[in-house]
């Protein structure tokens, strides 16, 4: 019936071009990754193609473009929302799962927004971070329960025995796993440069490690996911830490999917798969069907790297996350990354993204509690990820018990991402989530590295400010110190799970 490309779905956005200001340079047309603009006696938008990524707006030298929602009123229906109706159109046309990207964007309660911090007044002085040292240094890895010392010949106390492998972070933030393939090589380079500048780590995601990133070995976490893309001896050697990815917040319980169109020659080489084939990682690891299998993989990786590198296990935050995390710790993991349901992705079934998993705030609190109850908290470091938007979110996650946070979407925003949620199309106009060479080269890795470095620096300053106003000068004196958090507008049960009191108490 309806012959146009968009089927029954009406256009979402329209480009409004000010013809008096436009000097017809066509830069906007070139910059659009979605071919949503064309030139016919002037620049005009193509109905239904614009995704509001704002690349054209940013690139227009005259400021002649603005993007607006295409006004279209439906008959009101609180139950059959517009989004639901449009999804039904799409599915009845495609017959498949609806793909989406980034993280869950539904209006679930954000617990971060219901937590507030304490501050010192009179009885305990606050500390000025501009005048006093303020320590953010964080070690990721297993710690022994206690330190043992012995006296040397001169009568000085020395550490007895060796500490397990730990990684030093200068600030408790890392860049989370985003695979080469889902994002461009220049994005990876920018992340690696920033990780090096900031003394932190970047996670390669599951797509292997491009050779250009070999110089950044000390700042790289390599991921070993169910597809085992790009996993070989060299890969393990070129990392400071190895992460076994069991799950991801945006798609708990299912594997990754990189469409064949994105598998270009360099991707093919890095992932060790043929050009143009879909890179499908299975839902479970085909050698992990129970916790003891995970233990074997953890120790295989440790053997392969001579116990010199911590092994991290990434799980998505699901209902029973506390018990799972406890099992993972007992299976030998040195670090556990927990990815909440707001966590992003380059491609996932929308239904899974929006309806599976639990918030990171509740998960990290429950896991930290459980590991303490079992007296094994020291055996693992906890990384909270999945929806950390600001330094405030990071700080609250640390207060709830995380050793560090991993950020992905926030980092991409620093590189220009406008959250148009089209990563799965591979058309990213910003050169981030694309493998199209003409798009990819738009992202200058040097500039991107600087952007990210400044972002981490800004968050670190803000963390120092908060530690100072809390009257402590080391991040570990705040980590898990739930006494310094209060809830607002939370039920007793929610407060109990978070382990915080309500404001006013």
């Amino acid at each position: 019936m309806n012959q146009n490309k968009r089927g029954l779905i009406p256009p979402k956005f329209k480009q409004v071009i000010n013809r008096e200001l436009c000097r017809r340079c066509k830069r906007c047309i070139l910059s659009c990754g979605f071919e949503a603009l064309k030139f016919e006696n002037g620049v005009i938008g193509i109905a239904g193609e614009c995704v509001a990524c704002h690349r054209c707006v940013t690139m227009c030298p005259e400021g002649a473009i603005t993007i607006q929602k295409q006004p279209l009123d439906y008959r009101d229906n609180e139950y059959w929302t517009v989004e639901i109706r449009e999804e039904l159109y799409r599915q009845s046309e495609s017959g498949g799962v609806i793909l989406a990207s980034m993280g869950n964007d539904k209006p679930f309660k954000s617990y971060f927004d219901h937590l507030v911090l304490d501050a010192c007044q009179v009885t305990n002085p606050s500390i000025d971070p501009l005048r006093e040292p303020m320590e953010l240094r964080t070690y990721l890895g297993r710690k022994p329960e206690k330190v043992t010392v012995e006296k040397d010949k001169k009568g000085k106390f020395q550490l007895k025995g060796k500490m397990p492998a730990n990684l030093l972070l200068e600030t408790p933030i890392i860049f989370g796993g985003m695979s080469y393939g889902s994002v461009s090589l220049n994005t990876h380079k920018a992340l690696a440069m920033a990780a090096k500048n900031c003394g932190i780590l970047m996670n390669t995601g599951e797509g292997g490690l491009h050779k250009d990133l070999y110089p950044y070995t000390d700042n790289i976490i390599v991921q070993c996911a169910s597809g085992r893309f790009g996993v070989n001896e060299e890969y393990l050697k070129r990392a400071a830490m190895i992460e076994i990815k069991i799950g991801q917040g945006a798609k708990p319980g299912i594997g990754g999917h990189l469409p064949g169109e994105k598998v270009t020659a360099p991707i093919s080489e890095t992932r060790m798969i043929p050009i143009g084939t879909d890179a499908l990682s299975p839902a479970p690891h085909h050698d992990i069907y129970s916790i003891e299998d995970l233990r074997q993989l953890i120790f295989s990786l440790k053997e392969a790297t001579e116990y010199k590198k911590p092994v991290c296990v990434k799980i998505s935050a699901v209902h029973n996350v506390a018990a799972i995390a406890s099992g993972v710790a007992r299976a030998g993991a040195d670090v556990i990354c927990i990815d909440g349901f707001r966590g992003g992705t380059g491609a996932t079934p929308k239904m899974v993204r929006d309806h599976v998993g639990i918030p990171i705030e509740l998960a990290i609190a429950a896991v930290d509690d459980r590991l303490r109850e079992e007296n094994i908290r020291h055996q693992v470091s906890l990384i909270a990820s999945g929806g950390i938007r600001t330094s405030a979110d990071m700080i609250k996650a640390i207060g709830l018990g995380a050793d560090a946070v991993a950020i992905c979407t926030a980092a991409l925003v620093a590189l220009g991402c406008h959250l148009c949620q089209q990563c799965h199309t591979g058309n990213c106009s910003w050169g981030i989530a694309t493998q199209r060479p003409e798009m990819e080269r738009r992202l200058d890795p040097e500039w991107g590295g600087q952007q990210l470095t400044r972002l981490i620096q800004a968050w670190s300053y803000e963390l120092k400010e908060v530690l100072g106003l809390l009257g402590v000068n080391a991040v570990e004196s705040f980590r898990g110190s739930r006494e310094r958090l209060r809830g607002i507008g939370l039920s007793e049960l929610e407060l109990d799970i978070l382990g915080v009191k309500h404001a006013g108490r």
Partner: protein, 379 residues
């Protein structure tokens, strides 16, 4: 379930500590004079003393000092002690006439009326030995066994608190100015080789006898001026090891932390202090390799044990006394020595009052402990 509903209180305070490193005994008269001069640092809502060497007759017994507010709590405590300990002797702690308790009272309310709130009616001490089978397989030392009993009484027996539990030592404390309390407890009649005294200025409570210093466990006693801003995490860390922070003040955390690190984890005192008042990374980075490695390990393992926030602490045990400040010295601490005597106080006047001409007086550096030990061979 985890109980997250804890509250804690903080306070400003005056401290005095005196030790004879040769084990020479002195009466409580000196410490009383010193703490009286620090009157301004207290507000009449808490004072206390620790004394070492006061029970030579019962030197092998754990001396439980108990504050109890009713006959019921007393009989519950005695039943519990009888069941788990050989109780050699039990007696009321001698005091002066209760009306002499608070000559300097300045709380504004009728003293008679509020007395039950601020001082329990029953002050008793029991000299006990653990009653356990010879070949006990629970893996506990006698000390662990005593700690368990203290935790049990403080947590489970309503209205009863163990305020000290070490051998040949005892704590005397309550609500009031310390000089009044010392008079009330007849401290001049005790002979000790270590004395500490504390004047309290609680900020957010009307004062509670359980909250007065010193805080103790076994022969550890801690007096403290300050607030532990890291209380929240210190408490959760200690809970992993079975410590129950029932007294709701940060000083309790300091006591248990030292017990954990020194007694349970076996760290030498000076090393344990490097964990709880860790040097800054900028200084650690400049240390020789071996020393750096030790400090890195301490910080990695004991990050949650770091005591952060403004404090000056004097802690004592049967073999010595240690004074220590927080990492940036946000509260005062002065040390002095003369002959075999070592003095520490929050104010120099606290020392000069009883030792007008010390050989040396100094302000200890931030985070650097002053350690005074009994000389080897002194019993």
């Amino acid at each position: 379930m985890v109980n997250h509903n804890y509250q804690h209180e903080s306070s400003g305070c005056g401290l005095v500590g005196i030790i004879s490193t040769t084990g020479k005994k002195m009466s409580g008269e000196q410490v009383l004079r010193a703490v009286a001069i620090l009157h301004e640092r207290g507000n009449g809502l808490g004072g206390g003393f620790a004394a070492y060497g006061i029970y030579p007759k019962y030197r092998d017994f754990f001396a439980f000092h108990l504050l109890m507010d009713s006959a019921e709590s007393k009989s519950a405590v005695e039943a519990y002690l009888q069941e788990r300990f050989l109780v050699e002797h039990g007696e009321e702690i001698p005091t002066r006439n209760p009306s002499e308790r608070y000559p300097n009272y300045s709380g504004g309310r009728n003293l008679e009326e509020i007395l039950p709130e601020i001082m329990p009616s029953l002050l008793w001490r029991y000299f006990c030995k653990p009653k356990r089978p010879e070949n006990s397989t629970d893996g506990l030392t006698d000390e662990d066994y005593v700690v368990q009993a203290v935790m049990h009484i403080n947590e489970n027996i309503h209205g009863a608190f163990v305020i000290s539990s070490g051998r040949n030592m005892g704590v005397f404390k309550g609500v009031g100015y310390p000089e009044d309390l010392g008079h009330f407890f007849k401290l001049e009649e005790y002979e000790a080789y270590i004395w500490t005294g504390h004047a309290r200025f609680p900020t957010n409570s009307q004062g509670w006898w359980g909250g007065a210093h010193p805080f103790t466990l076994l022969d550890w006693a801690v007096i403290h001026n300050g607030e532990i801003s890291s209380y929240g995490i210190n408490k959760r860390y200690l809970e992993m090891y079975g410590y129950k922070c029932t007294l709701m003040t940060d000083t309790e955390v300091v006591t248990y932390m030292l017990d954990l690190l020194i007694r349970k984890h076996g760290l030498p005192t000076e090393v344990a202090l490097r964990a709880v008042a860790a040097p800054f990374w900028k200084d650690v980075d400049r240390m020789p390799a071996d020393e750096r490695k030790l400090h890195e390990a301490l910080r990695m393992v004991y990050g949650s044990a770091l005591l952060n926030g403004p404090f000056a602490i004097i802690f004592t045990h049967s073999r010595g006394m240690v004074g220590m400040n927080d990492r940036i010295k946000l509260r005062p601490l002065v040390a002095a020595c003369k002959g075999d005597m070592v003095y520490m106080s929050s104010e120099e006047c606290g020392i000069r009052e009883i030792c007008p001409n010390p050989e040396r007086v100094w302000n200890p550096r931030a985070g650097h402990p002053v350690i005074a030990r009994l000389e080897d061979g002194v019993k």
